[in-house]
């Protein structure tokens, strides 16, 4: 059973698991998905890409940022049957750029290419794991705390 005690201005409540089993009746205000102030995820409400998303790490801001943005944008807006099939050249130039900075972009090229594929919320089973791993390994140094 829960019990409560007061320590001056501070109140302390001890609760057991059973006490907290009933769902909460605390009311939270519904979030507006289009709130311009809120931090947005990777895809903006208008369908565009949020290059400032922490999930991208430093990909869009590094020395190969331009190439990355071009490749990823091409992929994102691609309407081909095989999504991104017309973007091969852009991905290639991105890869070439990244090869020039092995410190920043450790050479895991296959994963690199599937990374944008995975993180743009597409659906093949293999890519989520690949995408989840690669930005992480991408630059181990390139983590920025974010919230």
């Amino acid at each position: 059973m829960s019990y409560c005690r007061e320590d001056g201005k501070d109140r302390i409540i001890f609760v057991t698991k059973e006490d907290h089993e009933a769902p909460s009746n605390a009311e939270l205000i519904a979030d507006d998905p289009n709130d311009p102030y809120e931090e947005q995820g990777l895809i903006l409400p208008d369908g565009g890409i949020n290059w400032n998303c922490p999930c991208l790490g430093g990909m869009a801001s590094g020395p190969c940022g331009t190439q990355f943005k071009e490749a990823f944008s091409c992929f994102h807006y691609s309407k081909e049957e095989v999504k991104g099939s017309e973007c091969i050249d852009k991905f290639r130039s991105m890869q070439e750029c990244m090869q020039r900075f092995p410190e920043l972009y450790p050479q895991e090229d296959d994963k690199e290419e599937s990374a944008p594929a995975g993180s743009s919320a597409s659906d093949s089973d293999s890519s989520p794991t690949a995408s989840e791993e690669s930005p992480e390994t991408l630059p181990p140094t390139d983590e920025q705390t974010a919230s």
Binding site: D10, I12, A26, W51, S131, E132, P139, T141, E143
Partner: protein, 712 residues
């Protein structure tokens, strides 16, 4: 400018006359179409007067007045240019680069005779070759020594000469000497390159001083194969090279394609993160950790404290020419003066850099105790003010060589360092003492019961904790430090670490005319982190308006990231207020850890809801589960990280205490303004939501249910 007005006054009546004349003529020609216009004589000279005889005089007067006015203006400007030039020369000549001087004095005399034929014949020579006295603003011909620099510069001189032709004034246009030190530069001498920029050729047409370095920059760059030139203009200038600055740089680069960002910092290091300096780096097994500055996160992954390796950045010299822009870091330079009207700053080596948008992220410097400062050099030598990489290195070294170290301060930094050093004490026999005026560790943050519990924990880490300790004096005796407390206790130790707060760095407030907040310190900025039109402030130094929680100044890592990122967004046109609440965390050993958000001040009334902790509820387990090393990353980078599910292999820690895990709400006028998640992890989004709503909740136990504290 006044001269212009007087000139105009002179000319106005003449102008009116001539314009009416013109109009009359036009009308007449229009009306008399077909007939021979009487007043347009056929055989007049093109430069002759339009109207009749009396008009001749008026016309002549007009021309004369205009040219006189123009000349007057030119003379005045040149004189003031001379003056400025002279001052600049004097300034520069006091610089240590005197080596170039002797070379240049020699190159001068031959240059001088060349000048004279170039000058307009009517100009007199006013000074003798040997004199350095009358600096000429037309130093252009001097630079004929460096062939590529010839052209832009020689073009200027004939123009100048032409303008001065009608009247022979005593413009010492060409002939006088430049002061020996600075003008023509032997190309390979790099220092003189830097000097030559501001020195040579103040353009005669009275341009403001700034463009000159740029003009010369181009000519100089052509002549010197190795250009060690700093950019004179940076579209985005970030003052300070810490977390906030780096976050802003990243944000700017993400949003403005091809942005050129220049970070100016007085530290010798590239941007790095601070939390590991008082936590993870101390727990590293690597003996070379002070060099590599790499730490192992709980999930086994290693990373450096630097945000990015050096290859991420470009050199400042390459910034202007970089096609896709980039981030350049200028180390070991301090910004000493800020000219807000002119949109430029001055560094401690007199370089001027102009900007379009500027961020001030200067952070702060650790405070010191007055008693220590007054105690003299001996005591100061044995005291560490902990903040930077070099402080970490020196404290690491000290802690291996002394027998006893005392930490003064019971807040985040002090407690974390005490725990870290306390760990070491078990191996090395180092005595670690921590003293502070409060009743318990984190006394200003945690409610009393929790603060006491925490203090006990810190003691189990091997630290001798002295509470309610006010330092009265410190003396150095027999190579040991003697700390005398107000209540009479005396502590003898070898080294002191002072962790008594941070003084925000507002050095630029005066020159920039920026407001400083008297309550919280730091630059006062609005909700969008803006101080003035093109100036933003982020990080520890920013006292900003939080729409939800009011005006505050926050000294945490995540806030530096969030505010830096927001400032970067606003510098690229976003106009967003501070809205996403930053969080902070602290670990006091592997068993006690908490995350917090909002205003967490122990003077506020609190409500704490606790459950019994199991072995799985430790910071170690939390990071293992989420696969990240730094906790604030775990919430937003969860798209990028695969959860590594693992059970804690360690034996269950015995939590005899009541406060194993729980949630503590901090209330202000019955609204929750701060939340601490005590040994409960990965629930920060819920906490953030509750604070954002800002609602009055009748029963906080119900709110606590949202956190599922009994689950993992």
């Amino acid at each position: 400018m006044l001269k212009c007005r007087t000139v105009w006054r002179k000319l106005a009546p003449l102008a009116k006359c001539s314009s009416t004349l013109c109009r009359q003529n036009v009308r007449r020609t229009g009306l008399n179409n077909g007939r021979t216009p009487v007043c347009v004589p056929a055989a007049r000279m093109s430069t002759g007067p339009v109207g009749g005889g009396g008009d001749n005089l008026k016309y002549a007067l007009l021309v004369g007045a205009v040219s006189a006015g123009g000349l007057l203006y030119a003379v005045v400007t040149m004189k003031s240019d001379q003056r400025r030039y002279k001052e600049r020369m004097e300034e520069l000549s006091t610089r240590p680069q005197k080596t170039s001087i002797t070379e240049q004095t020699q190159s001068e005399p031959p240059a001088v005779p060349e000048d004279q034929p170039a000058a307009a014949p009517s100009i007199e020579e006013t000074s003798s070759p040997a004199e350095a006295e009358a600096p000429k603003e037309e130093t252009a011909p001097e630079v004929t020594d460096t062939p590529p620099a010839d052209e832009p510069v020689l073009e200027v001189s004939p123009e100048e000469a032409a303008a001065a032709v009608p009247v022979v004034e005593e413009e010492p246009l060409v002939s006088s000497e430049p002061p020996p030190s600075e003008l023509s530069e032997p190309p390979p001498v790099v220092e003189s390159v830097v000097l030559a920029e501001p020195a040579a050729a103040e353009p005669p047409a009275a341009e403001p001083p700034e463009p000159q370095p740029e003009v010369l920059v181009e000519s100089v760059v052509d002549s010197t194969p190795v250009s060690l030139k700093l950019p004179s203009h940076a579209p985005y200038l970030l003052i300070g090279g810490g977390t906030a600055s780096f976050a802003a740089a990243r944000s700017i680069r993400a949003r403005d394609p091809g942005a050129k960002v220049l970070i100016v910092t007085d530290e010798p290091d590239l941007p790095y993160m601070r939390p590991p300096l008082s936590k993870e780096l101390w727990f590293s097994d690597d003996p070379a950790v002070t060099e590599t500055l790499r730490f192992k996160q709980w999930n086994g992954k290693e990373r450096s404290i630097y945000f990015q390796p050096p290859s991420f950045y470009i050199r400042p010299e390459d910034l202007e020419g970089a096609e896709n822009g980039g981030v350049a870091v200028l180390n070991n330079r301090k910004v000493v003066y800020m000219d807000v009207r002119g949109n430029k700053v001055k560094l401690d080596d007199d370089t001027e850099i102009s900007y379009d948008k500027c961020l001030i992220a200067t952070g702060g410097i650790p405070r010191n105790l007055q008693v220590i400062e007054r105690a003299g050099e001996d005591v100061m030598k044995k005291t560490t003010l902990f903040r930077k990489i070099e402080d970490f290195k020196s404290l690491d070294k000290v802690s291996r060589n002394v027998k006893s170290v005392t930490i003064i301060g019971g807040g985040f930094l002090g407690s974390e360092l005490a725990c870290a050093l306390g760990r070491r004490s078990t191996e090395s026999g180092l005595e670690v003492i921590q003293m502070f005026p409060e009743k318990g560790n984190m006394g200003k943050v945690l409610p009393e019961y929790l603060s006491n519990w925490t203090t006990e924990k810190v003691k189990t880490e091997g630290v001798k904790v002295l509470t309610e300790a006010l330092v009265k004096s410190v003396n150095c005796k027999d190579d040991k430090l003697e700390i005398r407390l107000k209540d009479g206790r005396v502590v003898t130790t070898d080294h002191i670490v002072a962790a008594v707060g941070l003084e925000p760095n507002v050095d630029l407030a005066k020159s920039a005319g920026l407001e400083v907040d008297s309550d919280f310190g730091g630059y006062r900025v609005n909700a969008e982190l803006q101080a003035r039109s093109n100036i933003w402030v982020a990080g520890d130094a920013a006292c900003f308006y939080d729409i939800r929680l009011g005006r505050r100044r926050v000294e945490h890592h995540d806030h530096a990231v969030v505010s830096g990122r927001l400032a970067g967004e606003n510098m690229t046109g976003a106009s967003k207020p501070y809205w996403h609440q930053s969080m902070f965390w602290s670990d006091l050993g592997p068993d006690v850890g908490y995350e917090a958000i909002g205003i967490v001040d122990s003077s506020l009334p609190t409500v704490g809801v606790f459950a019994k902790a199991t072995a799985k509820d430790t910071p170690k387990a939390a990071t293992e589960k989420s696969g990240t090393g730094i906790r604030s990353e775990s919430e937003t980078e969860d798209t990028a990280v695969s959860p590594v599910a693992s059970d804690t292999p360690s034996p269950a820690a015995e939590h005899k205490d009541d406060f194993g895990k729980g949630v503590i709400f901090y209330l202000r006028d019955k609204v929750v303004v701060g939340i601490i998640l005590w040994n409960v992890f990965n629930r920060m989004p819920i906490a953030r939501k509750i604070i954002k709503d800002g609602e009055e909740h009748a029963d906080l136990n119900e709110v606590a249910k949202l956190f599922n504290i009994h689950e993992d």
